[in-house]
């Protein structure tokens, strides 16, 4: 079904080329990219020409998907009648091997988003992209940008240099809580490790489907390392993770916790309760069954009406036509997904409407 006046929690402006970011870089980095002739920083974990990167009827010739402001405005904002939409840019800085290049590109992306997207449409909001490769630099970038309340989230790929619960990343969580910013984990990988525990598959499709492994293992890491004990106000949004994997994951994690919880005594409540309180999911893709009755049962198994966030994932190809929400979502949930849950998840959006 289509829905108007919703808050779209995942759209993707595309960086067409490093050239658009150069005005937002220092002389040093501008010189580096120009003199060394470097471009092409689209992430391999979201192949720019793969079918999923852009719905066929949203393609703009050979242009990088989402890079045309007018089209994004027409398709996503006007097309779905959204009240707000959160821009999540997937680009080189978040994936870079070099920590300093990561910081330079991330900073340029944030300034570019501010100048060329947020400034052009009051419905747009954005996530701060950060160089997770170096948490100190990531915190510097958060401090630099967070004063602009239109930035509502901190964004990172889900598969990182290491498990997310490790203390290495805690300074980022501290800054996130201090600035009322949830951590958004988006499908995608730095490819520091193989996409599956059995190595490198032959197909991008296997990598993409395997994003689940990263989402589940990062959640377990956050829980087991006690991140939510240390940061009781932290919220984590799983973006483009699919949805139907969640109940089975929760059941298994509760079972395992019941058996081996003495190993992690600081995890003093069921992982199910922790996830329901701290974790949110964008609802595209849903990865649900064809039968709406079964989808409804699976969604009810999640056991909380607060967790799902409306999202189109524009311009990624997750659904056809204007059916952003598949049949089978319980009707009581629609309003919550479209407005209440996003506002509760993103305190800075809540401020906007007061």
């Amino acid at each position: 079904m289509s829905i108007t006046d919703a808050i779209d929690c995942d759209i993707h402006p595309g960086v067409p080329t490093i050239k658009v970011l150069l005005p937002y870089m220092s002389d040093y980095w501008r010189e580096a990219f120009i003199a060394r002739g470097q471009d092409g920083f689209q992430p391999a974990s979201y192949l720019p020409n793969s079918p999923i990167s852009c719905r066929p009827d949203w393609r703009d010739g050979d242009a990088i998907a989402g890079s045309n402001f007018d089209l994004l405005q027409k398709h996503a904002l006007d097309g779905f009648g959204s009240r707000f939409a959160i821009c999540n840019v997937l680009y080189g800085g978040s994936f870079s091997i070099s920590e300093t290049m990561a910081a330079a590109i991330c900073a340029a992306v944030n300034d570019w988003v501010k100048a060329e997207w947020l400034a052009r449409d009051p419905r747009l909001r954005a996530s701060i992209v950060v160089p997770t490769q170096n948490p100190r630099l990531a915190v510097e970038e958060i401090e630099r940008i967070a004063g602009d309340r239109r930035f509502v989230q901190i964004l990172m790929p889900v598969a990182l240099d290491m498990m997310l619960g490790k203390e290495h990343y805690w300074p980022i969580f501290e800054a996130a809580v201090r600035h009322s910013l949830p951590i958004g984990l988006h499908a995608g990988s730095l490819y520091r490790y193989a996409p599956t525990t059995n190595g490198w598959p032959s197909h991008f499709l296997q990598d993409y489907v395997g994003n689940n492994h990263a989402f589940e293992s990062q959640l377990l890491s956050l829980i087991s390392q006690g991140v939510f004990v240390k940061f009781p106000d932290l919220k984590v949004v799983l973006i483009e993770s699919g949805v139907t994997w969640l109940p089975g994951f929760l059941w298994r994690s509760r079972k395992t916790w019941r058996a081996v919880r003495p190993e992690v005594p600081w995890v003093n409540e069921s992982p199910i309760d922790i996830v329901r309180r701290h974790v949110r999911l964008t609802a595209q893709p849903m990865d649900g069954p064809a039968d709406p009755a079964v989808l409804e049962r699976v969604i009810n198994q999640i056991g909380s009406d607060d967790m799902l966030l409306f999202a189109s994932d524009y311009p990624h190809w997750q659904f056809d036509g204007d059916r952003v929400l598949p049949d089978g979502i319980p009707s009581r949930l629609i309003e919550k997904m479209a407005r209440d849950n996003p506002l509760a998840t993103y305190p800075r959006l809540q401020e906007t409407i007061q």
């Binding site: 889900v158 490790y193 059995n198 190595g199 993409y208 890491s221 699919g242 139907t244 990865d287 699976v298």
Partner: protein, 370 residues
């Protein structure tokens, strides 16, 4: 839920009035050198000097994680004679086979044989493991059936071992790990599937195996509680790989079972694969039908460790979605996360379904049981 409902929810029901099949029993070596009688002197010397040389952090222990119990075993599974859990046939008979009136038990040795990086050594140890299972267990106890251990990383030697054993009535399946050195659907492994189909013997993927890669796409978790759950992703990856690389298209009669990986993830994986294959199928030409169709056709699951939904009817839904005919009960004896046949699968089911789950499916699936 009040106290009475709690008790009812967790009280075991007499689960069978018939003998059942346990698809996952772990036999163990009595001591570290128990396979030495079955290998050449050259390999004994090699092991004494260089060990098994797996993809591991430590020199003389298998996994990098401190497991939760000694030998990953139930505390009551240590035989009175002090030998390791699962190593003493008489105690296994008393504590498990007789106590539960088990008709058949499928042995799943996890003795490191297929984990060593040296493939010649690995193949020798796999052959030794197969001989050892016969000598120590299946020749002495007809209810037990062995698994054909192979070094999958050398497909030629693996096929020779399969062909040598598959018609031997001591063996019920080929055993592979859910963690291989490359995704198992890649062509280098296809001779194994060809041999399985030709010999009409199924392949069991037990969790674990020789993979050199991290358990997660973000590396290694710190705790066993994470590792124990994350390892199920290796089963997702193997199923995905076999389907998308075309194994079930090329070898349509291959039957595989994912062992000790749980099953609550299966319906969702099928939906997810179908959803994204629909858009990107031109990348995987050997997957000719929606991936979930191969999942239903070629893949079975053992139940342990059975997920425990908050509501019983949700457990039942999983069985209905995966297919009752695909589910096979397993205990994982003698390991700590053992599923008790009287308590593990608490949900409404008909007598016919109960028979399928605890007996009939496995009886049809495995080789050499009748």
């Amino acid at each position: 839920m009040n106290a009475l409902e709690q008790i009812i929810e967790h009280t075991g029901e007499p689960q069978t009035n018939f003998r059942f099949i346990d698809c996952d029993i772990h036999p163990a070596l009595k001591h570290k050198k128990a396979l030495y009688p079955y290998i050449e002197q050259r390999w004994r010397d090699h092991l004494d000097t260089y060990g098994g040389l797996a993809h591991s952090v430590y020199a003389t222990r298998g996994g990098p994680y401190p497991r939760f119990t000694p030998e990953t075993a139930r505390r009551d599974a240590w035989p009175p004679n002090g030998s390791p859990p699962g190593s003493d046939l008489e105690f296994m008979q008393t504590q498990h086979l007789d106590a539960h009136d088990i008709r058949f038990g499928i042995l799943q040795p996890i003795v490191g044989a297929n984990n060593t990086r040296n493939t010649d050594l690995s193949a020798a140890l796999c052959t030794a493991t197969n001989d050892w299972q016969i000598d120590e267990f299946t020749s002495r106890e007809k209810r037990l059936k062995a698994s054909i251990h192979i070094c999958a990383e050398d497909a030629e030697l693996a096929v020779a071992e399969i062909d040598r054993r598959a018609q031997n009535r001591n063996f019920a399946q080929i055993q592979l790990g859910s963690r291989s050195v490359e995704p198992i659907g890649r062509k280098r492994y296809w001779p194994i599937f060809e041999a399985a189909q030709r010999n009409d013997i199924p392949i069991g993927f037990h969790v674990g195996g020789p993979s050199p890669y991290a358990p997660s796409p973000s590396g290694w978790p710190d705790y066993y509680i994470e590792d124990h759950q994350v390892l199920t992703h290796s089963a997702h990856a193997q199923v995905t790989s076999m389907i998308l690389e075309g194994v079930f298209e090329v070898y349509p009669k291959v039957r595989v079972v994912m062992i000790e990986a749980g099953f609550a993830w299966v319906p969702s994986l099928g939906w997810r694969l179908d959803n994204h294959w629909r858009k990107m199928r031109n990348e995987t030409p050997l997957c000719k039908r929606p991936p979930s169709e191969y999942l239903k056709q070629n893949v079975w699951f053992t139940t342990q460790p059975a997920e425990e939904p908050e509501h019983r009817e949700d457990l039942r839904l999983l069985f209905d979605l995966i297919g009752f005919d695909r589910m096979m009960f397993a205990t994982d004896y003698p390991h700590w996360d053992y599923d008790d046949p009287k308590r593990a699968i608490l949900m409404p089911m008909s007598e016919a379904e109960r028979r399928m789950l605890f007996h009939d499916n496995a009886f049809s699936f495995y080789a050499n049981l009748d």
